[in-house]
Subunit: 261 residues, 2 copies
DNA sequence: GCAGTTGTTCGGTATTATCGAACTATAGTT
DNA sequence: AACTATAGTTCGATAATACCGAACAACTGC
């Protein structure tokens, strides 16, 4: 009778909903799409189970089938909902005009980011004027400890919170410049707190430098950050100083916008 | 035994998944969020049912709870997935650079759209340089028969398809200039086919004019369109002609990109 | 035409979603 | 502060429903 009683006791989840979510998750990793059997094998669900859930998701446009291959892919309804979410954030309205100004001043890529469950989540991006563009993308997650945006946000965590963060996420290295020890990170964050901005020096990607400054929400809590990214060879000396100054200024301006909103 | 056998016979849907989807749908209509009871009342589901589904969705970030109000809103995972969907479309990569060029030439708002189940769906938008911006938004749907983008796409439907479209969607009027009769629409579409572009003259919104041109995909099928929108008072005479010429040219250029991709 | 694969349908089984009601927490009122 | 009213959460019994395996159908490629 009790076949799998003690298997996964965790917190009650509606199974079929969870399965649907996991199907979407797995589809999000393959943008060429997946076939029914691929999904069913990967998730170890019987084909008929997957079939039923996919049919439901399809009818509501959460997934769609490629006409040629018949493969399932994420559907337009998710696109719609995702944009709805983006539009619901006041931060975007406040930040985008100022980000654009910053982009005009230096011609470089400008990012807006926030923490989402221990990850850096890119909320918005203004592309550089030149053709070589940073290959980041809105809606993408990145480890916090190696991006300028992430470090700025980490800098205001309490020691306990920081510890918890490191335990949960670790400090994986993306390049050989990535900070990978707790002590080094603590020192770096202390520095960031003092100077009021962060610099990422090839910690995500060799040759990429970025300057990030914190944004306070209406309650004065640092919850967002903006950054300018460019090749190291375009961002040094006096220009770097200018960029720092202007980035901090822009971030403060956005904070002020959020205050009286 | 058979309490509700003949209630909803339609096609088999996994109930709980469907309920989860409907919860997301209803949340997407209120961006200030909704409380558990509001949702449960609106959808006529018992509170405990909604509670369970929401808990599952919450744990996977498909919804999140406002810290102050406790209201449920769409979550960041949807933002992530939505952007994933957007990135999976090659059309965006091909179109965006050319759309930006078009935006630079005239300084006006440029849109990219496609049909999604009988609606115009905005896929991408480049904002105008000036402050007065069209209040359209990416990820939003609009009736096809009253936007330039939509009319361009309608123009290549067969009479039977057009008929089906009208039956399904009707021809609701958004302004007093909106085309609301089948015969008027047929005439308009014929004109569009001849000239190779469409003009929307205040049919969505009084005072707004927009010029749209079709984009062919790799198989030569018109599946997308771009448009320039501006106030009528900024878009007439020789400038209008220039805009038409350049919009068509840009659309053709994008079609060519898609060909050899 | 046949083997191999993938997608779809079907029906019995018991797992699991469901629902009402009881319970707790929270907010508002006097 | 106590009390009311509302919202949110937990619980447990019930049977409806998701689940699964297997059989069937539809393709594909050889």
């Amino acid at each position: 009778m009790e076949k799998k009683t003690n298997k996964t006791k965790q917190s009650s989840h509606i199974q079929s909903v969870e399965k649907a979510i996991l199907i979407l998750d797995i589809l999000s990793k393959k943008n060429e799409g997946m076939s029914l059997t691929q999904i069913s094998q990967k998730l170890k669900y019987p084909k008929s189970t997957v079939h039923g859930i996919l049919a439901t998701l399809r009818d509501y446009k959460f997934v769609e089938q490629s006409e040629e291959t018949g493969n399932y892919k994420l559907g337009t309804r998710l696109f719609e909902l995702g944009n709805k979410v983006a539009r619901s954030w006041d931060i975007r309205d406040a930040a985008i005009p100022i980000m654009k100004k910053l982009n005009k001043q230096f011609g470089e890529t400008v990012h807006l980011g926030a923490e989402d469950n221990g990850d850096m989540l890119y909320l918005e991006k203004i592309d550089a004027n030149h053709l070589i563009n940073i290959s980041s993308e809105v809606g993408v997650r990145l480890p916090m400890h190696c991006s300028g945006l992430g470090k700025v946000l980490l800098a205001q965590k309490s020691p306990a919170e920081l510890k918890r963060f490191i335990n949960q996420k670790g400090l994986p290295a993306l390049t050989r410049r990535t900070i990978t020890t707790q002590s080094a990170l603590e020192k770096e964050l202390e520095k960031i707190r003092k100077q009021g901005y962060a610099i990422d020096d090839g910690e995500i990607m060799e040759g990429l430098r970025c300057v990030a400054a914190p944004i306070k929400d209406a309650n004065g809590i640092i919850r967002y950050a903006i950054s300018i990214s460019a090749q190291v060879r375009d961002l040094y000396g006096t220009r770097l100083n200018q960029v720092i100054q202007e980035t901090v200024r822009a971030a403060n301006q956005i904070s002020k916008e959020l205050e009286n909103l």
